[in-house]
Symmetry: C2
Subunit: 340 residues, 2 copies
């Protein structure tokens, strides 16, 4: 191979970006035909690509798929049973395609997640389903794009230019508020915990919007410790505001389970003296007593959708990014009653 040809084949996206005087992220958006890039910028970047002889080999991802038959999945924690249910959905789809899942736990730490992404690339996984750690920089996805490593975002999203499978958290929160309001509750608290990310914002925004729409004050957003073992003793925090709540919506079922124990310790009977509403509707909601009413985010279905998006992406590396947002549905059981 003559030196010139060799040099040409080594032109990177960063070379293109520098010559076109745009960021690497913008250059990658141009390749993905994103509508976020203006026509003039697009024309300039495309011209530079032609001038430098930049080639984006979109067959590579497909070739890799024929090689390892392995999908990487990165989740932020494994103690919430929600993630086991998500994984069973992913596995159902990935298995049926004759592939296997390798799972890794980021601990919601971006540095650790970076290392896992690199390691998964080194191991030659065909693609990654990622629930991005809180505070993940979108640059991670640009990096994966340059590696030609397909990524699907699950549950949380940091970029509209990358496939995403999630649930309509805002709609779920609206159903929760509407249900409690219909029972007569006016003072409704929202108990939150865990790191802040897109799904967190969507739940909090959903709560605020739904309370506002009904003329109710959305000022009782109560932060509870993250550690599962500390949740029960945090139940009194719910009653520190001037107006005592008669019902609480929980950020997820893990929180509902813990607060249920804490309310019991305070002498309050859930479903009789106080209303408790979960979110996610994991299997535990059905085995709690009283059975927990909870907004189903259908983690198994989100997992299936994420699996399908990744298979689609492997088959069509250059198609536009897709979003599949599953409907949420309130599952009414026994834990809420009209206020006393």
């Amino acid at each position: 191979m003559p030196p010139e040809a060799k040099k040409k084949s080594r032109v990177t996206l960063l070379d293109v970006a520098r010559s076109a005087n745009v960021s690497r992220a913008t250059a990658s958006l141009v390749i993905r035909k994103s509508a976020l890039v203006g026509a003039e910028t697009r024309a300039r970047v495309e011209q530079v690509m032609r001038d430098l002889g930049y080639v984006y080999n979109m067959g590579a991802a497909r070739l890799r798929a024929e090689r390892s038959h392995t999908v990487g999945v990165i989740v932020p924690n494994l103690t919430n049973p929600f993630f086991a249910e998500l994984l069973s959905g992913i596995e159902a789809i990935v298995d049926s395609a004759g592939m296997v899942v390798l799972l890794a736990n980021s601990g919601d730490q971006p540095d650790r997640q970076d290392m896992l992404m690199r390691r998964m690339r080194e191991h030659g996984v065909d693609g990654v389903i990622l629930c991005p750690a809180a505070d993940t920089e979108p640059d991670l996805l640009v990096q994966a794009f340059e590696w030609q490593l397909p990524v699907v975002q699950a549950l949380r999203h940091i970029s509209a230019q990358t496939d995403y499978a999630g649930a309509d958290y805002e709609g779920g929160m609206r159903q929760a508020v509407d249900y409690l309001a219909s029972l007569g509750h006016r003072a409704i608290a929202f108990a939150v915990h865990g790191p802040v990310h897109s799904a967190y914002h969507e739940r909090v925004d959903g709560f605020r919007t739904a309370m506002d729409a009904r003329g109710l004050a959305a000022n009782m957003i109560v932060r509870v410790p993250d550690a599962t073992s500390l949740i029960p003793s945090a139940a009194p925090l719910l009653f520190e505001a001037q107006h005592k709540p008669t019902a609480v919506i929980c950020f997820n079922d893990v929180l509902a389970l813990g607060l249920s124990a804490g309310l019991h310790d305070m002498g309050l009977k859930v479903g009789q003296d106080f209303s408790l509403l979960g979110f996610d509707d994991v299997t535990d909601a059905e085995t709690m007593r009283p059975r927990l009413s909870s907004v189903s985010t259908a983690p198994v279905i989100i997992g299936e959708n994420a699996g399908r998006l990744l298979l689609d992406r492997l088959a069509n590396p250059s198609s536009p990014a897709q979003r599949i947002v599953t409907e949420t549905r309130l599952h009414i059981r026994q834990s809420c009653i009209s206020p006393l």
Copy 2:
């Protein structure tokens, strides 16, 4: 390289086994200096190895360790929080060694587990921590040995020739029986579910032995459905025997949680009308109401031990197999009382 030398380097353990007229498993035991092989057989196999020029390259595992810095972990399911706790112990050790964990779920299916082991080998993991699926053939470990892929067994074991980290399930069951007997219980049931494997046998044997030692009948071993959602409705099965139990020991805390709901549905108050004892002592035991008394098998510590065993194995590929069996300890909370 002359053809003869090339041929020599290709001699496999199977070639050795055939020439020595032993099984491949026996040949591998000879290499691992197992006491299970008689002196005569050992001498014959070693002579064949010399004759054929078989070389076991024990440095290869170490070389691989320098390459990928990745540990594979294969567990049979992820819905039991026990496995998340085990994993956090493994990660603590593996992380501190600058390595990462890739996790896979065998679904307790040996075929699927075989495929995962092959895939992990292809991906070049440095070693595997395996909780063997029920009905795993010991041949899987012989295969891994031939691949020079270090394996540590966790929680369950299928071979004494491979490292193992577990807990003293029999001792835990003895503590459970002794505690309930000390409260005055004579009719004690043991509720079991899930697949049959070494840890299952050890728990059942432990129950039988402990009951026998106290002159109590160990005939109330009640099989409950595996699916978590079906456990509550199985609670009446506990009372089908001629002598009604006044207490039940549960195979694990998942079962205890489900039966607690089922007993509630039958109008029985745990810790007042009936005694319920868990096994594993996962975080949920503390957040149940009444708090669940449970035998701690310390999954985090088992995970740490498994991680350490694997690091030891990578550093010393040819040292004899080690077993670390953690003590179990009854954690008394609120779910058991003297019989009425």
